[in-house]
């Protein structure tokens, strides 16, 4: 994306384009990455509900992959995940490992 010059920015840094945060990819902030372990997933969709960045995709009412462009690695999904028989369906893995 070409950066705007000072003559092109909006007065007072007002953002006039609603929902434009989708243009700002925050996935690079992540130091821990959530990994989906499908066999432990009970499709409760708690992760989708709790994710503050809408980084968990749902397809046809079912849990789909993470959208790593926006996942900051906060770990809330992994914390909230009830898993199956004591085994989490989301685990946090250090980036780069």
């Amino acid at each position: 994306m070409k950066l705007k010059n000072w003559k092109e920015v909006t007065p007072g840094s007002v953002i006039k384009e609603a929902g434009n945060s989708v243009k700002f990819k925050t996935g690079s902030w992540r130091s821990f990455k959530p990994v989906w372990v499908e066999e432990n997933c009970i499709q409760c969709l708690f992760c989708w509900l709790y994710c503050p960045d809408m980084a968990i995709k749902v397809k046809d009412g079912k849990r789909a992959e993470f959208d790593y462009d926006y996942c900051k690695g906060c770990g809330i999904c992994a914390l909230e995940c009830p898993g199956k028989k004591g085994k989490k369906a989301i685990v946090m893995v250090e980036e780069g490992k």
Partner: protein, 393 residues
Amino acid sequence: MAKIVAVTGNEAVANALRQVNPDVCAAYPITPQTDMMQRFSSFVSDGKVKTEIILVESEHSSMSACVGASAAGGRVITATSSQGLALMYEILYIASGTRLPIVMPVVNRALSAPLNIHGDHSDAMGARDTGWIQIWSENAQESYDNAIQAFRIAEHMDIRLPAMICLDGFIISHSIERLEYLEDEEVQKFVGEFKTVNPLLDLEHPVSFGPLILPDYYMEYRRAQAEVADKVAKVTREVAAEFEKLSGRKYGLFDAYRLDDAEIGIVILNSAAGTSKDVIDNFRAKGIKAGLLKPRLYRPFPFAEVGEALKHLKAVCVLDRADAFGASFGPVYLDIAASLYPYKEKPILINKIYGLGGRDYLPQHAEDTLNELVGIAKSGSFKIAKEYIGVRE
């Protein structure tokens, strides 16, 4: 037909605000401003204005409420003094950086410690680089006239910056002077309907205010704000010209009093300029070519015009009613010195700090200063570059 009355500076400005009839006022009482906002809240209670008053618990909150109301799309006012202005400090930058045309009379008062409620310019000088427009006023009439013009300047579509109107605490705020009011309808017509820019309450066009701007964009926003500041002088002149047609009273970026052929001169803000002008008349009567420059638009400072107006003098004293601890000279001196620096031929400049905490500025002080300048102009050299006057040694 203008109505001639005897009123205090606070009453005059409160009436200017009544005539403008703003949408929102969020203010907190502080001496010597209290009386102004008390009068304005009476106008609200008596149904003289449609303004919604927000009662707040501090000046930090009053300025914060003003920011919210202004971003929502209202014409917004507040007023303060001294510690109140100091408490607003961080929000002052938010108001200017967000380009919100809030109008705020500042009744100038000393800062603590030691605690003092009387007039000096330390409060507004501390806020001179916050991005606000500052318009300074010599007397009640100028305070009233500047308050009305401030709305037009701040709200101008090329500007959209907040503005302070500065008047001296007690000396002007509480002294009764002759004043000419404009008619309510004239003022309303002059300031016109408030025009909004990206108001938060426009639900059809949702916007976000106050985003985080990281190093990749922060300088672009600051550069854009500096560009706006450069346009203020032009708009101030245009508004003054229109105001002159309405009132017969002439205003510019500064008041140049008997300056054209002057050899020595005083630069001084606000009420003390009146005292100095009388003394300058006495010197002129004796055949001494003395003059005075009183800044009106102090921020953004019209340095090119000021330099041009002063460059031909032989000796100039800048009198500051505020100190700048640890700086080389007082705040007004530094601006004047910077304005004159580009010229090869320029006056010898000295600085005097006067009137702190309401200490009287007497005709004798102006007289002594002018006599000293006569000597400097003659000899081409000075003894003391910066000194405190009216202080017990």
